[in-house]
């Protein structure tokens, strides 16, 4: 077999500049999982239907199974491993909400679900039911029946809104 000529693929992944040599048609999903060992991004349907491999590319939610190396080179990519609270050790409010509300069971769809929620809340901080459903319609979950997920997203919206308020002024 002939060796495919690689490209020098560069991107900022979870805030860190990464550079590797890969074939231009290598899927972002494989770059993340295999080359960069970021296995939080999950592999499931591989045709962009289930959302288990959802990542943010320049802030937009994308199925990494459909994204080739050349298409996302130079982008800023956020995976589930890149999400955290105010410090790297803290959970992001969305992650906290999923934990508290039972927004997952087996957890395999959860990274993609949380990434889609992040994209949704960045765009619509206080989404209504229909907006949540539209925001997450690209993510399938087989365990929860989506009840816990709906509650988690609603709670996450409240948490995020609360966090973005200015700190209360403490009087004398």
């Amino acid at each position: 077999m002939t060796k495919t000529t690689g490209i020098q693929w560069q991107a900022v992944v979870n805030g860190k500049a990464r550079e590797i040599e890969v074939p231009p048609s290598r899927r972002l999903l494989d770059i993340l999982r295999e080359d960069l060992d970021l296995t939080g991004t999950k592999i499931s349907c591989e045709i962009g239907r289930c959302g288990a491999c959802m990542v943010l590319i320049d802030g937009e939610p994308m199925n990494s199974c459909l994204m080739m190396a050349y298409q996302c080179a130079g982008s800023e990519i956020t995976t589930i491993e890149g999400l955290h609270g105010e410090t790297a050790e803290e959970l992001h409010p969305i992650q906290e909400a999923f934990l508290e509300e039972g927004g997952f069971q087996c957890g395999y769809c959860t990274p993609g679900m949380i990434i889609s929620t992040k994209a949704l809340l960045d765009r619509i901080p206080q989404p209504g039911e229909q907006e949540i459903k539209e925001g997450l319609c690209g993510n399938l979950c087989r365990c929860t029946g989506y009840g816990g997920i709906m509650r988690a997203v609603e709670s996450a919206a409240d948490k995020c809104a609360y966090r973005s308020l200015p700190s209360p002024v403490v009087g004398p």
């Binding site: 939080g40 349907c45 087996c106 395999y108 949380i114 997450l136 399938l140 087989r142 365990c143 989506y146």
Partner: protein, 776 residues
């Protein structure tokens, strides 16, 4: 109790395995890698039924980057697997019986080379007739798919004289119901990592619902001692019954041993569809009769199950469907025959609900038709005909008495959803159902259904349980079971049980599951049994364990034994006055006690079996869980689209140990049943799948979710009930389909007999809708 976060108090706990799931840190077994790892791929049959004339792997073997190629010639032991009946070849020798049959497998240095190498394997076939219809398989002229013929299993239940009684019934309803080939569609497809260890052992990291059973089967294939194999089997990205049977394990194991290197397998979704198990499609013919007062008299049932190419659990599934096709009702005359038939379709096997879903859909459908025929409210009709707590089980066997049935029936009758249905018995109220703001072609209806669902494997099937409780070296109370976490929340349920028993904190606890080297054989995580078995195991282990560590604390401190108790971080001294605690003082830590342990002083094992009926009724259950479900639907009679608006589930399963897990299981089961009812069918034509991925196999998405789903847990059990909380993994998925189809009937006047519901039968020509619809 209406289950939600507010009502659950401290039992509403963040999952113990939750943080690593929401951060993506958790390594599922298919995420694992190893130094020098190869990638395994399987060559599967090109035809659903063919003879293999020749098989040439030389080109693949000689290809650069290919390290091992295996065929049936490389199987040292039994070249068959199957959890109950081992009749599925690991690698086919001479015949292929379905499109997922494996013929060869390859391990190569990259997945691309492995895939390419498969294309270099030459297989010559002689194509044979494809049997896709079980009825065709039963004809004398049909080719035999297995040496014993095309019948896997038959069941029969008869008492009284149903044929004669039906002739004398005032009313008889006869229908044929059919159900789809539903797919588990777990998000993590099958896979894992297989590592030959330097000490000559093999470590298998692959999801399963029963690590020990896998170990036994892999050992049988390899012709090895079981102890040489270590199976690590959790965490699992979903199973629902679909990973209970071996899938990639034979290939991963054989390739790892042949190559001497770690091998990773991970099925693509399409391969998962092709090779994986499905729910048994069933055709169920029912003829049910009652007298002029609406009392059920006679029930005649014929079940035909398409088990596909191999047995797996086809026989027990048919047993279960047979047991559940008479519902929780009283009968004088009963005549049930079931048959499970081999075909060249995909393999049908274990799936959440285990044949109950199909049977209950049909049974409850009959109940609604009969009630309507006699002009009774469908729930009152069920009330009239329900079994009594003292009645024998469906197979006339002795069962454990509870009031569950009565309680779920009452709860549903009082639910606001069913109250709304009741309000509609006033014909003028019907308009209120069809929302005034909706266009006239949108019709609404409400239906309900009932389920009595057996747990455990049933009479006559070895159903061992057990467990281990110890104080580990780190000073934690450690519980070890061979159960698996596939998402259902078992780990947190165990954590809550241990905290209840020992009043300790989460940090004081260690839970070990999913590793045959570290856990005792305590049976499988199937048949809604793990919660009950773990609870019963811990009840048995609690006292000996407490006695041992409290005695040690007493020996070490001299404090009177009766004043010592376990608590946060260790042993506490509690003094009571008139049964009231007056003081509580710290005594000694678990760690300090553990440091004093002599050998296995603080390790206790127990072994027992899942409770079974004393009556010799094969497959008959002893413990049942009850559920009632109401559903409100909206049907668009221009498009035939059905939308589920509202559901109410009530479940009588004893104490809800882990409310978050309980709700999750019922909600999840409900939405899985929604798919079963409205959209899911793994369509096969001539033995080939037409729906190969999630773009055409439609599981519900968040847009399909109903706006409201209420879960009510009935937590009562008889006083001193020795079995504790019942499992609820399946019960949420068994009764929604008939509730939805009853609601569709009310909305449109159409009786549905075939799932998934075909839209075209609900479409009404524009302008005709005024005359359609049935008013209750």
């Amino acid at each position: 109790m209406l289950l939600n976060r507010q009502n659950s108090g401290e039992r509403w706990r963040k999952r113990r395995d939750g943080k690593e799931k929401v951060t993506g840190e958790l390594r599922y077994l298919t995420d694992m890698t190893a130094e020098g790892m190869l990638y395994g791929r399987v060559l599967r049959s090109s035809h659903p039924h063919a003879r293999i004339l020749s098989l040439d792997t030389s080109a693949a073997e000689n290809h650069e980057g290919v390290v091992a190629v295996i065929t049936h010639r490389d199987v040292p032991g039994l070249n068959r697997f199957g959890i109950a009946v081992p009749d599925q070849p690991a690698l086919c020798e001479d015949t292929v019986r379905y499109i997922g049959d494996a013929i060869a497998a390859v391990a190569a240095i990259t997945p691309e080379i492995a895939a390419y190498a498969l294309s270099l394997i030459r297989v010559e076939y002689e194509v044979m007739e494809t049997i896709t219809d079980p009825m065709r398989a039963l004809e004398d002229t049909a080719p035999r798919l297995h040496p014993q013929g095309n019948v896997l299993h038959r069941t029969q239940v008869k008492h009284g004289d149903a044929a004669r009684a039906l002739q004398n019934c005032a009313y008889v309803v006869k229908e044929i119901y059919s159900t789809p080939r539903q797919m588990h569609a777990y998000m993590e497809t099958e896979g894992g990592l297989f590592i030959p260890e330097p000490d000559g052992r093999l470590t298998v990291y692959a999801p399963t619902q029963h690590g020990y059973k896998d170990r036994m089967q892999i050992a049988r294939i390899l012709d090895w001692e079981e102890e040489r194999i270590r199976v690590i089997s959790s965490p699992i990205g979903g199973s629902f019954g679909g990973k209970d049977e071996l899938n990639v394990q034979p290939y991963g194991s054989l390739l790892a041993l042949k190559s001497g290197r770690p091998v990773k397998m991970h099925n693509s979704r399409m391969e998962s569809v092709r090779a994986g198990l499905k729910r048994h499609p069933m055709k169920i013919e029912m003829e049910t009769g009652m007298d002029e007062h609406g009392r059920l008299k006679a029930h005649r049932v014929r079940i035909v199950a398409d088990t596909g190419a191999y047995a797996t659990l086809g026989a027990p599934v048919l047993n279960f469907a047979t047991e559940h096709c008479m519902g929780p009702y009283r009968w004088e005359h009963m005549d049930v025959e079931g048959i499970s038939v081999y075909t060249n379709n995909g393999v049908s096997g274990e799936f959440r609900g285990f044949g109950g879903n199909q049977a209950i859909f049909a049974m409850e459908g009959q109940m609604d038709r009969l009630a309507e025929l006699i002009g009774m409210d469908p729930w009152e009709f069920r009330m009239l005909n329900r079994r009594y707590p003292d009645d024998p089980g469906p197979l006339q066997q002795e069962i454990w008495r509870t009031n569950g049935l009565e309680q779920v029936m009452q709860a549903l009758a009082q639910s606001s959803l069913w109250q709304r249905r009741r309000a509609m018995s006033d014909p003028s109220a019907y308009d209120f159902l069809s929302d005034a703001s909706s266009p006239p072609w949108i019709k609404r209806g409400i239906g309900a259904a009932l389920a009595m669902h057996g747990a455990g494997l049933g009479y006559g099937i070895d159903d061992p349980a057990g467990g281990r409780l110890s104080l580990n070296a780190a000073g934690q109370i450690e519980a070890a079971f061979s159960y698996e976490e596939f998402g259902q929340g078992l780990i947190t349920t165990l954590e809550i049980m241990l905290m209840d028993l020992f009043h300790c904190t989460s940090e004081d606890i260690s839970i070990v599951i999913g590793d045959t080297d570290r856990v005792p054989h305590s049976g499988s995580s199937t048949a809604s049994r793990s919660t009950t078995m773990a609870w019963m195991g811990l009840q048995r282990l609690k006292n000996p364990f407490l006695q041992a560590i409290l005695q040690k604390a007493h020996d070490m401190t001299g404090i009177p034994l009766e004043q010592l108790t376990t608590g946060e971080q260790g042993i506490w001294q509690v003094t009571l006055e008139d049964d009231t605690e007056v003081s509580r003082e710290w005594v000694i830590s678990y760690r300090e006690i553990a440091a004093e342990a002599q050998g296995n002083e603080f390790t206790f094992d127990t072994k027992f079996s899942y409770p079974t009926t004393p009556d010799e009724v094969v497959g008959g259950h002893f413990l049942y869980t009850y559920a009632a479900v109401a559903a409100e639907v909206e049907v668009n009679t221009l498009s035939g689209h059905v939308r589920l608006l509202d559901t109410y589930h009530t479940v009588a399963a004893g104490p809800a140990i882990n409310p978050m897990g309980f709700i999750g299981q019922i909600e999840g089961g409900s939405v899985m049943a929604l798919g079963f009812t409205l959209t899911e069918d793994a369509v096969m034509e001539e033995g080939h799948y037409m729906t190969r991925n999630m773009d055409t196999y439609m599981i519900p998405g968040i847009q399909d979710m109903h706006t409201s789903l209420e879960v009510e847990a009935i937590e009562d059990l008889p006083e001193n009930d020795p079995f504790g909380p019942r499992g609820i993994g399946e019960i949420g998925s068994v009764a929604l389909a008939p509730a939805i189809t009853a609601a569709i009937r009310q909305a449109t006047g159409t009786w549905v007999t075939q799932l998934p519901v075909a839209r075209d039968q609900l479409i009404r020509p524009a302008g005709v809708w005024q005359q359609e619809g049935v008013r209750p």
